[in-house]
Assembly symmetry: C2
Homo-oligomer: 157 residues x 2
């Protein structure tokens, strides 16, 4: 059994999703978001991401992590912000002694929806179906669950 | 008295410099670099930056930190890497309860050399003069000391 923590990093909202992967079957454990205070200085917000991910790990005790890789944003300013947010999240995982796997957005969509150009709603729908959820998680939480499902697929299918 | 930790983040080499600032005078404490293993997976390298900066803080016990902000690199790929490295360094400082101040490269050069477009050699030279060093620190360590000196100037002059 692996308990997989999926993370979709963002400077405003970082999504997380935790699933169990047992002998080819996956099961939902938890999902949610770490929000940062828009009015706080940026270093404080990076620290909120670190603390938030750290707390998720303490509570749900994943055995491995998968983090969505960065797409090349058209706006360099937001790319640099996103990069720093991802660095904060990855380091929070590493400091807990977990291995981190990187997956590109396209690869994740291909693995979960079967189509690399899939939209947000399609990802949300497939995550709900694959995990048998009765409700829809938020976009960011669904993206994070998709990363976790993508990782589960690499080692089982 | 403030003991200022200056950081020049980079995914391969992160420079650090520590100075004391007492009643308008600055004194050299330490400087060096945190190198990451080029052959290691990127999350491991981010973690090496976190651990390295954390160790510098444990050893030299700064009271505040100043981190060079990112310039908008022409290459988006390296900008995203640099962003993640900066995130790892900033979070290492924040986790130690220190305040982090951000300074742009141009602002730092203006403060240390008096000229925002100054070259590496000029920065290195002025850092050496201002701190009364007998030898030249490496480029990355000199840049980190320059960030620290820049921060000292904001609150004394």
């Amino acid at each position: 059994m692996e308990r997989i923590l999926g993370i979709d990093p963002g400077s405003r909202i970082t999504g997380y999703g935790v699933i169990d992967s047992i002998q080819g079957k996956i099961g939902f454990v938890a999902c949610g978001v770490v929000k940062t205070s828009p009015d706080s200085p940026f270093p404080v917000r990076l620290n909120q991401i670190f603390d938030g991910i750290n707390e998720v790990i303490q509570v749900h005790e994943p055995t491995v992590a998968a983090v969505e890789d960065l797409f090349l944003a058209t706006n360099p300013r937001s790319a640099l912000k996103l990069g720093q947010a991802r660095g904060a999240a990855v380091v929070a995982v590493m400091q807990n002694g977990l291995l981190v796997y990187d997956y590109s957005p396209k690869f994740i969509k291909q693995a979960v929806v079967g189509y690399g150009q899939a939209g947000k709603a399609q990802v949300q729908h497939m995550v709900r179906v694959l995990l048998g959820l009765s409700g829809s998680p938020s976009n960011d939480a669904a993206d994070a669950l998709a990363v976790a499902i993508c990782h589960a697929n690499q080692f089982i299918l």
